[in-house]
């Protein structure tokens, strides 16, 4: 069975608790021809991805860009939750911060972030996203083909296994 043809636009999930920054990142991404969903917290980001529901929404997100300093769940916390999820660990995550703190930057990169942008984010930063997205596309296509070939009698059990955090 062939999967539905992929959309021509990549879908980016942007996470930032500041209204003006959310507006700016959304505009920057749209100007670069990305489809954008912008949310104001890590919790809402996870809800959008479907991590809070057992009922697995088939939301296609190609990249997550998140602010570091947010109340409640920080960008780093969100990064770790994504990377610890078997369903979403392959989604590239980029972190933004207004503070230039080397230890923070290292921690994020070591935690699995692809890039760390200093705010205010510019168009030249957004241009750096495309290679991370292009790299993933082929991997995802291969993975989905492999999954289609696996015949699993108990599909429900397989789903719950996917949601377990290791």
């Amino acid at each position: 069975m062939v999967m539905a043809a992929s959309e021509t636009k990549f879908h980016v999930l942007a996470v930032d608790d500041t209204l003006i920054d959310r507006k700016l990142i959304e505009k920057l991404l749209k100007t670069s021809s990305y489809q954008v969903t912008a949310v104001d917290s890590g919790t809402k980001a996870l809800e959008f991805l479907g991590l809070h529901n057992n009922d697995h929404q088939d939301v296609e997100v190609n990249l997550i860009i998140t602010d570091y300093c947010m109340p409640g769940m920080t960008g780093y916390d969100l990064l770790r939750k994504i990377k610890e999820s078997s369903s979403f660990k392959d989604i590239p995550v980029v972190i933004m911060s207004s503070d230039n703190i080397p230890s923070r930057i290292n921690r994020c990169l070591e935690g699995g972030a692809e890039e760390f942008f200093l705010k205010p984010v510019q168009l030249s930063d957004v241009n750096k996203l495309r290679p991370h997205l292009m790299k993933r596309t082929q991997t995802n296509v291969n993975k989905r083909k492999a999954m289609d070939e696996i015949v699993s009698p108990d599909r429900t059990r397989a789903r719950y296994n996917e949601l377990e955090v290791n």
């Binding site: 209204l19 507006k23 505009k27 920057l28 705010k119 205010p120």
Partner: protein, 148 residues
Amino acid sequence: MDLAALKTQLKNFVQSMFEEGVLDNQFSQIQALQDSTNPNFVEEVITLFCNDAERIINEINRNLGYQNVDFSNLDSYVHQLKGSSSSIGANRLKLACANLRQASDERNKEGCLQAVQLITCEYCLLRRKFQALLHLERSIVELETNQK
């Protein structure tokens, strides 16, 4: 005044704001993002910023009104204001925030009060200039629409 003259006036006005250090290059980035699909982008961003800045400055003043100031709360507000200022390119306001950050770090209430005065000054100056800028922008849009 004709369209070309208005556009020149706007350009010169923004340039003067750069020269005074009121705005920095980040504001140019925001102007560059405005296009036909989003012709009010600059105005929308300015409006969002001003509403946010006023809210935060009020909160900061409220915090400083207490006998025992909650400095970590204050830190959070300064961080927000500094971030927003940086995002819109409000250079002098951003620098004024650094003063407040320092005084707050030192748990120096008197220093904070002085720093807030400076912030308020810089914000009022900026808002006045933004209002003049938007007035020019709207006049331009009106003329352009009438000419069609």
